[in-house]
Amino acid sequence: MEQDAFVSIRNLTKRFGEHVAVNDISLNVAEGHTLALLGPSGCGKTTILRCLAGLETPDSGHISLAGNVVFDHNARVNLMPEQRELGIVFQSYAVWPHMSVSENVGFPLKVRGVAKAEYDDRVARILNIVGLGAWRDKGATQLSGGQQQRVALARALVHQPRLVLFDEPMSNLDTQLRDQVRMELNILQAKLGFTAIYVTHDQAEAFSLAETVVVMNLGRIETSGPPRDVFHRPRTPFVARFLGLNVCEGKLVQANATAGGQVEVAFGESLRLRGLSGDEQKLTAGAPVLVCVRKEHIGIRKLAPGAIPQGLSGEIRAASFLGLNEEYVVALEGVELRAVQPASGLRAGDRVEVSIRPEDCIVFLAGQNRLD
């Protein structure tokens, strides 16, 4: 564990009956940084946030915030939520329907006994920052979803907590508003300097907001690291599939000389492909493997009728229009791959030549990695 981490979670486990929602997780977040928790529905993201906020009592582990132990199973420490001095934005916003906008936002100040003048001043300032200055006396239920989300945000920030937890705060916003709020959040964080833990299942959101991205699966951490690393070199087939890469099964033909070196994989009857090993250990020939390729890294070119393909050849099964790009389903000897390319007018039934560069292919040993 890093001593200077602002948030430190060690060996956190939370069960609901038989079900292990969070399984022995350890995480650190440096002060002022943002950590994004990414993963499919039900993988335990919200549960981690709730454990951090003290809304759920973990079954074991240790949590400290800003150097203070707030939970320790062995030492029987479990501070109450209000003692942890943080802010939280719930998935449901949880804006109080019986209070006005300013009462909602001022609540953290009220329970801390802040004097009237300072209270008004702070509420006005934070409402201006989130762009709700004109709405302060409106009832909270008269607001639109996007405005409620801003109220929740303002409420989480008004007392300037050093840690703010976000649970999919933008899941109910439309794409445009989402982009806008994401930018505002970035600016706010730069201004106020809080540490943030941000739960989402939207990759783009995670990558654009966070210094560190953690991908979770079934209550465990699959991978964590800076967004670029996580994005460019998926560490496990699960992460590859979660990020939308093609993942297909094959058999190793030729092993690598060194860890991470080039290998050759066979699919179907005669299809061969070269790629880089994604595992640390050495792979042996004949082992079942999974090959991961990004959709954008599969090149396809239309074959003139009767032409002899130089490399791999396949057939377009389906095409769908995405705007600037088009997505194709290409069949290569029974293996189906998805490819995204600038629109080139290919249609189902067209024969194409397929090219994949070895450095774009990541090969994992199958079986040892959980896939789903």
């Binding site: 709730r50 109450m80 209000e82 003692q83 109080w96 609540f107 100040l109 009220k110």
Partner: protein
């Protein structure tokens, strides 16, 4: 936000923080748990007392533990008569009020009957009235010779004078049905409103007639609500003391509640009464469990609303006439006629069965309010019991509702079923339990024991009201208050209680109404100086019709006042 600093509480040492967190958790867990504990004691106390007392048998001065009380009970033909009559009353009232309640709910919620908004409000009025006063009013209306209606029928239609036999099981069923119809009505009107119109439309489009659709689609979809209200109406109407006391007892017709009342009167046989009570408790608890099981099993089959408003059926001339007739008959017999009878008697100097405008007087009211010690005491006692009891009951309900919806999941189901045990238990049985507890103690015939019995018998209504609303409040509303720095108590005060206020008001008014008119439990527990309005009505019924009806009108005003508040605060009875 330039230089501004964070707002934090004064820093404390880790040790203080931990100590504080232990204390805080104690309030968070301890307060709701104590509400539950009090509830459980209130339920189990009279239960155990009755069971134990039923097993004690006094033979001259020798007390022994034996089943002799039960042997005596089961060997007595009067027991079987009473049980048989009670089952007949309960079943009759259930069938009638289901038919009436379903039809009225359907008319109000699914047809375009002109005036349905008014009917919607007035159909609920009997829910707020006192069944005892209702039964007595029906005596004034339909008693042979003296009843107003009997007389009119005799005079204009030449029907025999005892054409309406009000002193009979039929009379009991009739009055019970009038009072229990709103229960069924309330139970079925919500699902009827929420029912997805597409379910019925689909049947019509595929070729079903209106009646076929009603029979095969609408009614089956509403069966869960109808059946569970039927079970409740059966248990509660069969156990009601008020109506048989007025209409069956005078002619010597035995029913369960009046038999138990008799057994407690001098020369009392508490052992026999307790063993009767145990039998009733077992049957009621079985029914309650049956109803809960049934609801649990059908929970996912309830009719989910997709936001489609069910289309209103356009009534033709005949249909409209029939619907109006039904409303007029129901509101006439349940509200208008009894009230007219009550007012006629209470404003007459001496009731002879004929309204004589020359002897109209307000003297009876002056006497009841300012001149008569018994009625004055009774009014004060009732108001005191209702206000204090409703307040305590609602406080318990909030704590219990919190425990059941927010507390630890373990034991929740058990606690829930324990706490809802009193729901079906007849008031007179619970009164008996508390009588057994209080007898030969300073509590005997005090207001305190009556208050405790009221709360014990009726807090589950409040708990259910509060609980169903709590279920609809997203816990994240409270959690974000905690995360914002509010303690548990502050969260209760600023977030949860304000959000719960509609349910709290509804539950308070409901308890207030129930307590103002309660009779079954009070009749066994009151003493001199602790009479309530209902008890005073029973006492006066043997002496003075004029004084009695005047007091009944006073009670009516209190009850209707609560009804008006209900409408004003827009508290929803459906939550109850």
């Amino acid at each position: 936000m330039q230089e501004s600093t964070a707002v934090r509480r004064d820093p404390m040492t880790a040790a203080t923080a931990r100590a504080q967190s232990r204390v805080g958790r104690f309030a968070e867990v301890g307060l709701p748990a104590s509400g539950v504990l009090i509830g459980v004691l209130l339920v189990l106390g009279p239960f155990l007392a009755t069971v134990i007392r039923s097993l004690l048998y006094w033979d001259r001065d020798q007390v022994s533990l034996s089943l002799q009380n039960f042997v005596g009970l089961f060997g007595d033909p009067r027991f079987y008569q009473a049980v048989g009559n009670t089952v007949i009353c309960g079943a009759g009232a259930t069938i009638c009020s289901c038919l009436l309640g379903f039809s009225l709910a359907w008319i109000v919620s699914r047809t375009d009957l002109p005036g349905r908004r008014w009917f919607e409000i007035f159909n609920l009025v009997p829910f707020f009235l006192s069944p005892y006063v209702g039964a007595v009013s029906w005596i004034y209306l339909a008693a042979p010779h003296s009843g107003v209606l009997s007389r009119l029928l005799n005079q204009y239609l030449g029907l025999p004078d005892d054409f309406i036999r009000i002193y009979s099981l039929g009379g009991v069923i009739w009055v019970l049905s009038l009072f229990y119809t709103p229960y069924v009505y309330l139970f079925v009107i919500a699902p009827m409103r929420q029912m997805d119109a597409a379910l019925e439309d689909a049947a019509r489009v595929h070729g079903a007639s209106f009646w076929y659709t009603l029979r095969r689609i609408t009614i089956p979809l509403l069966t869960p609500a109808l059946l569970s209200s039927a079970l409740i109406v059966f248990v509660t109407s069969a156990g009601l003391f008020d109506v048989p006391l007025a209409l069956a007892a005078p002619k010597g017709i035995r029913t369960m509640p009046t038999e138990i009342f008799q057994l407690v009167q001098y020369p009392s046989d508490l052992g026999r009464a307790a063993s009767f009570g145990v039998v009733v408790m077992i049957v009621t608890v079985l029914f309650t469990i049956l109803q809960r099981r049934y609801i649990d099993r059908r929970r996912f089959e309830t009719v989910t609303g997709k936001g489609y408003r069910p289309r209103l059926v356009q009534l033709r001339r005949g249909g409209r006439f029939a619907a109006w007739m039904l409303e007029f008959v129901y509101l006439g017999s349940g509200v208008v006629l009894p009230l007219i009878a009550l007012f006629m008697v209470s404003f007459s100097r001496l009731w002879t069965g004929r309204l004589d405008p020359s002897v109209l007087t307000t003297h009876n009211f002056e006497y009841v309010l300012f001149g008569f010690k018994l009625t004055q005491t009774a009014i004060l006692n009732s108001v005191y019991l209702a206000i204090v009891g409703a307040t305590i009951g609602v406080a318990l309900a909030v704590l219990q509702g919190y425990y059941l919806n927010r507390g630890s999941r373990r034991r929740r189901a058990l606690v829930d079923s324990l706490l809802s045990l009193p729901l079906g238990i007849p008031g007179i049985i619970l009164g008996l339990g508390f009588l057994i507890i209080a007898i030969r103690t300073p509590l005997y015939s005090t207001l305190a024991i009556i208050l405790i019995a009221y709360i014990a018998r009726f807090f589950p209504f409040a708990t259910r009201t509060v609980s169903s609303m709590l279920l609809a409040i997203n816990p994240e509303l409270e959690q974000s208050a905690r995360a914002s720095g509010a303690s548990w108590l502050q969260t209760m005060r600023y977030i949860l209680l304000p959000l719960l206020m509609p349910a709290i008001i509804a539950a308070w008014l409901l308890l207030f109404v129930i307590f103002i008119r309660e009779l079954g439990a009070t009749i066994l527990l009151y003493g001199q100086g602790t009479e309530t309005i209902s008890v005073a009505l029973v006492i006066l019924s043997e002496h003075s019709a004029a004084t009695m009806t005047a007091l009944a009108v006073v009670q009516l005003i209190l009850l209707l006042g609560a009804f008006m508040l209900f409408r004003l605060t827009r508290a929803s009875l459906l939550q109850a």
